[in-house]
């Protein structure tokens, strides 16, 4: 028998079974959809938090001050060193005149500078780090400090590390809660599918007694699970898209949803595909675990 023939057989049988057991199938679709809805909140909020923290991290700059004696070769060497570091995103040269201009906005400092009679500032480099770089920068800072012509390097170490830790924590909490919800749903889906399988145990026993190959015994059940998961996933996606388009304003008043609703279009598409994949995964895994039950294995 060709692969296509087998595939056609499995698809047809799985679909027929799905229609035959409408009750359990509906229950599974509802369980999958509600699970995915919860997961979408975790995923969306985690993604939203991630973005917010990343943009906060972006604001942390590393400032490098040159000594007044620093010459052009010192500046070039330091710039090259920064350019070769993968954590560095953007490097901008700020001359002491530009820095002075900026400080003059504050009347207090302007008065002090006038009293000094000369520009006390030095040339500096403003370094913006790459998005998502959460590791320590101590090694880079130390290297820069040792470079000739560098007077000082300044960066908000503790704030930077706090933001990095928060970012990691948000991700882990999101994954942890999402994983818990997924596993709970998997348990429920698997048990509901076990009930559906029990209702059809006579059919399964006939197959086993006649020596049906594994793909014939398992294929339709796994496909049925996949279909139920897919339907649950599609329902969730339709619901979320409706909320995003229609009920956006009304739902923004509830905490957390504004984070979710504020995601850009690309993230939404990614979220939808993830949810569909998770739905199918939930259905297939649920069916797989149902087929591992002892009484099913004893029939084989």
């Amino acid at each position: 028998m060709t692969f296509l023939f087998r595939l056609g057989f499995v698809l047809k049988e799985g679909f027929t079974q799905l229609l035959r057991t409408r009750g359990p199938s509906t229950a599974i679709v509802i369980i999958v959809a509600s699970t995915l809805l919860q997961l979408s909140l975790f995923l969306g909020i985690t993604r939203g938090l991630d973005r917010a923290l990343s943009s906060a991290k972006k604001k942390f700059e590393l400032a490098l001050f040159f000594a007044p004696s620093a010459d052009a070769s010192d500046r070039k060497r330091v710039s090259d060193l920064l350019a070769s570091d993968p954590r560095v995103g953007e490097v901008k040269m700020v001359t002491k005149e530009e820095a002075l201009q900026e400080f003059r906005g504050d009347p207090e400092i302007d008065r002090m500078i006038q009293a000094l009679g000369e520009n006390p500032l030095t040339d500096s480099l403003s370094v913006v780090l790459k998005d998502g770089e959460g590791g320590s920068l101590d090694d880079l800072v130390e290297r820069l400090r040792r470079e000739p012509g560098v007077e000082d390097v300044d960066y908000g170490k503790s704030a930077w590390e706090t933001v990095s830790r928060l970012s990691r924590l948000a991700r882990w909490v999101g994954w942890g809660l999402g994983g818990f919800v997924f596993l709970t749903a998997l348990f429920i889906v698997s048990n509901t599918l076990t009930i559906a399988l029990w209702a059809r145990r006579e059919d399964y026993l006939i197959l086993a007694r006649m020596g049906a190959p594994l793909w014939m015994k398992w294929g339709p059940y796994l496909w049925e699970g996949a279909l139920q998961g897919l339907v649950g996933g599609v329902l969730t996606v339709v619901f979320l898209e409706t909320v995003r388009r229609g009920a956006k304003v009304a739902l923004q008043q509830y905490g957390g949803l504004d984070l979710l609703l504020g995601l850009p279009d690309g993230d939404w598409k990614g979220l939808y595909w993830t949810l569909l994949g998770l739905g199918v995964g939930l259905g297939v895994l649920g069916a797989f675990f149902a087929l591992q039950k002892r009484w099913v294995r004893e029939m084989q």
Partner: protein, 231 residues
Amino acid sequence: MMIQGFHLTKVHSSGAKVLDDAYFSAPEGSFTVVLGESRTGKSTLLKMFGGEEKPTSGTLRVDHLDPYDLAPSEKDRWLRSVGVIFPDLELFPDKSVEENILFILHMKGAPPEGQREAVTKLLSKAGLGDKGPARPSDLSSGERRMVLALRAMIFRPRLLLADDPFQGLDERTWSVLLKFLLELNKGGATVVLSAGPASFPEAAKKAAQDRSPRYVKLEGGKLLPAEEAVL
């Protein structure tokens, strides 16, 4: 397929001993009828040959293999070359008669071309030409038994085990079924069927004569050889 059984003993979990140091032999291509009163262990014996009832002790070889010693996937493959007509091995209730038989052809790995035509032809040969779309629940008990038999025979198994296949059938139906069984045997398949004293009538014995059937009787857990069988 050839069947050989030595010192076969089967004790059910209830403690009842249905086979007691029994011997059995069915050469390849033979037609064997196991006769016996009800509850003498005929079904158990046939299920034992079909890989469903492991002997408590003794040696069983079907085609030189011990079906109880095979790995699950090997056993599935082996089972696919055996046709069984067991009353408790029902039809799929939600499939039509035609789908039930087609399903077996799919399962046994028959080429997909011409399957539907073959099923239609077989059904009409069995006098069930109009029953193709019917559900098993719409069939009479005799019709259902005939469909069970057709399902077991359509893929031309090398071994056919039929547990009391004529039980409750009218004369016309059992004679059609016997004709199928004999045809299959003529094609080289080994056929072992069981029957009660009343379910294998004289007319059946006469009709089967051409195939030189071997008769054995199961009594008190022993299989009596053909010459000792009370016919």
